[in-house]
Subunit: 508 residues, 2 copies
């Protein structure tokens, strides 16, 4: 009879394998937990040094934890994760900066915008938390952390201007002051420190982590094993999996190794896997956002997006094989990226230098960045359509037809074929020079991830919080649903990182 | 140092909790496995008695396992799961039945249709397996199992008629012969036998299961604990989670308790959770399909779908408020369901009794079921369009216009408005009586589930097969991607159930 089995206990650990990242989990009975030899004991173990991890560290300290009770672990040789290469603006709805510009905004409006973009999949309780705390988070960043803001900007999908941009237009404008404040508080990230495993007891309560110091990213056999007890909680603030091809392809089989990403190399998602191994639930993992505005002629996020997003409506996007348009140029990211991927080869978007001077250069793209993109031949220049057709192997007669038709639509201010948005200051693309950019999407953001509740507690596959485990930022799912609004993810990271920190700090 | 931890083993089981379905997992070291007191030992443990489970049992027997080496476990008091209330047709591409009707079909065409409907998310290797084995599976069902087929029917999204319908238009037309064949082979499902937990060793190899006999569905404290060893493999053939509101809402927060489902009550997904607890990966769980063909005038799956799916192309689907068509009737389920939900009130589809006699009654729908649907007023009959308009509050003039236009398209065999597929034997809808059905979607099928490879092996969250664990049918994800084509899931269940069985039977 099974009573025998249910009353006894079993061994659960494989010798040595996890030090190599093989992902074996183990449980520890409550009675045995006191016998584990922990290398260190902390109250709060934070994994990741992006917006979420650093915000959590600061918040935990400001809520009463001592610096030496907090560990901030970072597997890469430098801190900041993907956040430090972010665009550098945070959503907040109802700030004094907005008020000065006469922008009327409110938590309810931000909440409604997130749900609308989410297409039904955004979790209302998570969106609500972000909406309700966005203003306080902004003031905390500015008045406590010392982040310097310069302007309130607009991002597609928001009802009003509410993206608060930092002075240097980069995520480092947040990360560097946060790191400085950590240092001021006596905390510093431990770099090259990877976590392989979350250690739980037989009630699935999190006891601590197991990992490696002196880890070299890309050398999976590197590092020295360590264990770290976390008496109050572990926060996963470790980002998404844009650079993990196996994970990507499980959820969206199109996203094979031929796709680059805009992310930093460390966006490899192994903490999601480690959490899954102890029974955490993942949600909406197949909503992997591709940026439709990247060019195969450069790496990473690159300069092309600055050109492309402002070129929409000024020139056509075509399939170079047929010279025909194939999608609404001003449509949403997902629709455009999917259409290019389905085509199977890069698209081309172009306009005249004349239009570029009106709408792009000195507008969304500084002259300096434009010059660099021209020099790198990401933006290509041709004296005539004939020259462009010859270089990019576009059938000339068809190109001329497509161009004439698009020019007519610019004049008519109406596009009956694809309903592309048309701008009054656009001129027909007649006289060269012409500027062209090739487009091939890149993996940009993982909307899905670990399921959390609005206390940032990670939920098990049975829908219950896993005691002692928290998550914030791109490692989580459900905040954005189908479509992420620009700059909301920055607020998401910080707000849920801080929510987790307050709970961990409040624990006895 | 961590060596201490990595070299030793830990206790992993909580006493007694799993008997109550609390979902605690345990690992067992290889050394200890031989000490477990198993109540029974089988080579092959099959969980579920729908298409996948029964097909696997038969295939395992036919490939050399003995009847008493196979256990078929079913938590409900009756066998058949959700399959037994299925529509009763299986996709196969290139059969003699199709050939007799002059239908040209091929595995490649089915493969292309699955991938197209999948919107990029269908796993090509899984679709390929179904496409390649569909014909053999059909012949097996007919010539070996003794399933009786009567017609090849059309379902939306397929390029040709390839849904092979059984004589009684119900999944029981498959399940009953399969159960009879199991009995002939000396196998019978063990009813009221629920599995709570999958037992693994420290290498995550599946050793067996732990569950309860004498379980009463809905009474979660019922039953007597048992353990069953599975020397060669465990197959999860336990279906989807359409009736688990907590799971549904984790992945799609819209689908709260107010939504009905077409599924049997036992579609509650706990084997997905049990597999997640041992580190199995789930994919595409947020693709929860709404059936666009259910009627608010009856409960559950009902009879309406039998009429509606064969009515496509014979009569128009309209918004009763405007009397206008609004979507391609022969388009895929998701597009149709989303369009009706977006409309905010039930749609209406209709045709003449004359067309119904050609394409529906005695074809996809028996006279008996037709009579019942008429009696229940799910199918409504009207002598004239005027009478239909009056009863369903459709503006008559607009209805006549829409009807005339659709009649022209039937004659032209071409629908320039929505590109609905047109059939040669369709007659213009001119003379009454007219038959109409109201349509409002219900939760119907979970496209997502456990990740498997094309050997039906369940993959861990690290992308590796979990040794000894197989899954087939709705419990899995990735086969269909975004949109499941009608009757492909039936083939999916059987083909992957049989794939798993062949491997399990071939093991030493």
């Amino acid at each position: 009879m099974a009573t025998n089995l249910s009353r006894r206990t079993f061994f659960g650990a494989a010798a040595g394998t996890t030090a190599l990242g093989l992902g074996m989990f183990r449980t520890v009975s409550a009675a045995e937990a006191k016998d584990i030899k922990w290398d260190e004991t902390k109250k709060f173990v934070i994994i990741g040094t992006g917006f979420a991890g650093l915000a959590a560290a600061l918040e935990a300290y400001e809520n009463g934890l001592k610096a030496d009770e907090i560990a901030i672990l970072e597997k890469m040789p430098t801190p900041g994760g993907n956040s430090i290469i972010n665009g550098g603006a945070v959503a907040a709805a109802g700030t004094d900066m907005q008020e000065k510009e006469g922008i009327k905004d409110s938590p309810d409006l931000l909440y409604a915008d997130i749900l609308k973009a989410g297409g039904g999949l955004a979790h209302p309780t998570l969106a609500r938390r972000i909406a309700d705390e966005s203003v306080q988070n902004f003031y905390w960043l500015r008045d406590k952390v010392g982040v310097q803001f310069k302007a309130v900007t607009f991002h597609g999908g928001h009802s009003v201007k509410r993206s608060h941009a930092v002075t240097n237009n980069s995520g480092s404008g947040f990360i560097n002051p946060m790191l400085a404040k950590c240092k001021e508080y006596g905390m510093e990230p431990r770099l090259r420190t990877i976590v392989d495993e979350i250690i739980i007891d037989d009630q699935r309560r999190v006891l601590g982590v197991r990992g490696r110091t002196n880890y070299r990213f890309g050398r999976e056999d590197s590092g020295r094993p360590f264990t770290m007890r976390a008496t109050n909680g572990v926060l996963l603030a470790s980002g998404g999996f844009s650079n993990n091809v196996q994970m990507r392809m499980s959820h969206d089989p199109r996203l094979n190794e031929k796709f680059d990403s805009t992310n930093h190399p460390g966006a490899t998602g192994e903490m999601i896997q480690a959490a899954q191994e102890i029974g955490a639930n993942t949600i909406q993992m197949d909503w992997i956002q591709m940026g439709p505005w990247t060019s195969p002629d450069e790496k990473g996020f690159g300069l092309a997006p600055l050109f492309v997003e402002s070129c929409l409506g000024y020139g056509p996007m075509i399939d170079p094989v047929t010279a025909k348009r194939f999608i609404q140029e001003s449509g949403n990211r997902k629709v455009r990226a999917d259409a290019i991927v389905a085509m199977g080869h890069p698209a081309v978007i172009y306009t005249t230098l004349e239009n570029a001077k009106t709408a792009i250069i000195g507008q969304n793209m500084t002259q300096e960045l434009y010059d660099r993109a021209r020099k790198n031949n990401v933006i290509k220049e041709y004296p005539t359509l004939d020259a462009m057709a010859a270089d990019l192997k576009i059938p000339l007669d068809e190109l001329k037809k497509t161009n004439d038709t698009f020019n007519k639509y610019i004049k008519d201010q109406k596009d009956p074929d694809f309903n592309c948005m048309m701008f009054k200051n656009a001129k027909p693309n007649v006289e060269g020079p012409f500027l062209a950019v090739r487009l091939w999407p890149r993996v940009h953001h993982c909307m899905g991830g670990l399921e959390i509740n609005d206390n940032a507690e990670v939920l098990s596959c049975r829908g219950k919080p896993i005691e002692g485990l928290y998550a914030a930022g791109e490692v989580t799912g459900g905040v954005h649903g189908m479509v992420r609004l620009g700059t909301v993810a920055v607020a998401d990271c910080m707000i849920f990182g801080r929510v987790a920190a307050r709970q961990v700090a409040a624990k006895k």
